[in-house]
């Protein structure tokens, strides 16, 4: 259980990096890449939380989140292409 808490802390620090890159990022493509990565970190955190809270239903959220993440990334790519930042 201690390891799971440590993993959650590391994932939270990774999300701080995402927030920093979204704020700083020179182009829109940087922000889109950071959001894509933020989705990955979120999925990993939900999977770890399913074990930590001992509720297997949360695993289904990972499956749905994977699909949503892919669609969001492709939509952001269209947006970056259109905007010509």
């Amino acid at each position: 259980m201690f390891l799971l808490d440590l993993v959650l802390v590391v994932l939270a620090l990774s999300l701080m990096a995402v927030v920093g890159r979204v704020i700083v990022g020179p182009t829109d493509a940087d922000r889109a890449a950071a959001l894509d990565y933020g989705f990955f970190v979120f999925l990993a955190a939900v999977a770890v939380l399913a074990v930590r809270l001992d509720s297997p239903d949360l695993i289904d959220l990972v499956l749905t989140g994977t699909l949503v993440s892919f669609l969001a990334t492709v939509a952001l790519a269209r947006l970056v292409h259109r905007r010509r930042s």
Binding site: T27, A44, A47, I59, D60, L63, H81
Partner: protein, 118 residues
């Protein structure tokens, strides 16, 4: 016991990959390098964490969901990263100074290195 040990190893490996990816997101010089770190290390880290979760919560339901989610992640993350990098190049994101080869240089209007040095 051995299952918990294997799950711990997978969990540490996945989280380490995700942390390295976060470091790359902060430190790497241009958007293509950052996208490289994110799409590869990030997706592999998520898959490692998912398999660790499968070892910690064994069962048919968890196994099906984890296998489908890991497969989708391994297929969709590189495609998403590729789409994003292509869009970034076509939108004219600047290349890092250390870039030595730009094979698309000058072939895509309004993209890549601006001085045409290729």
């Amino acid at each position: 016991m051995i299952r918990a040990l294997a799950a711990s190893v997978l969990l540490v490996a996945g989280t380490g990959l995700i942390a390295v990816s976060a470091l790359g997101l902060i430190r790497l010089p241009d958007v293509y390098n950052r996208m490289n770190a994110v799409a590869k290390a990030g997706s592999l880290g998520v898959v490692c964490v998912l398999f660790a979760v499968l070892l910690l919560m064994p069962g048919v339901r968890t196994a099906v969901v984890v296998l489908v989610a890991a497969g989708l992640q391994l297929v969709s993350a590189p495609v998403g990263g590729y789409a994003l990098a292509r869009a970034a190049y076509r939108a004219g994101s600047p290349l890092a100074d250390a870039t030595r080869y730009d094979e698309l240089g000058g072939r895509v209007p309004g993209a890549g290195r601006q001085d045409g040095a290729g």
